[in-house]
Subunit: 129 residues, 2 copies
Amino acid sequence: MTATPTSEAMASEEDEPRNCVVCGDRATGYHFHALTCEGCKGFFRRTVNKKTGLTCPFAGSCNVSKAQRRHCPACRLQKCLNAGMKKDTSSSSVHPSPRLAHPGPCTASAHALCRHQHFHGTASHQVHQ
Amino acid sequence: MTATPTSEAMASEEDEPRNCVVCGDRATGYHFHALTCEGCKGFFRRTVNKKTGLTCPFAGSCNVSKAQRRHCPACRLQKCLNAGMKKDTSSSSVHPSPRLAHPGPCTASAHALCRHQHFHGTASHQVHQ
DNA sequence: GGTGGTTCAGATGGTTCA
DNA sequence: TGAACCATCTGAACCACC
């Protein structure tokens, strides 16, 4: 604990431990068990609630970056789930245990979903850098 | 996105950063990945949907200005495509990446790059669906 | 102090109509 | 054809609660 990254560290803003695990944008904190940005936080909340049948027109391996996260809601949601995001509908408390519960690997359900991405992990389209 | 000079950088050849890239009319925003006016927005939407075999009676190099854009649909569509316009066949992509994706790295000269990316997107189909 | 939920302004695609 | 309007999504700001 010595290090007191206050100036230089911040100026770098490269490998900041505060990157949204979904799109890579600047994360604002833990949301739904994952470190995400405000955008993904809101997106996940809305999407999960609606339960709309999102489907990726491609193989489901769209790139979900800050600039492209809006392009394919389906893949974005997929990545959210893969990151372990999920709403706590049962827990009475608002936050069961953020840092403690999240660090672990994806839940079973999430793994099943991951399978999809691994399938065509071969960069298919994604021309965008 | 720091600094918002909106003049020096962009004022390369366009007086206003809101010109339709197709006909030069006043653009109303980003439509189908390109800054266009309402006219070209509607035209592109209709034309692409119909997929009619448009052919230019001339050499295919008609001038597409605000006053002449209606003269040759073929060249107009061509210019739309050249500008990087394309429909998102995705299920529900309402917001490709308007102000967030472009304003960032796509300022000034970057604009040209953006168009290039879309343009040379030959082999690489749909950068985003 | 940190996170979930709600609100609100901005932006774009689609539709309508003269 | 294109202006006007509507429907929907996005994300920042704010508030409530633990």
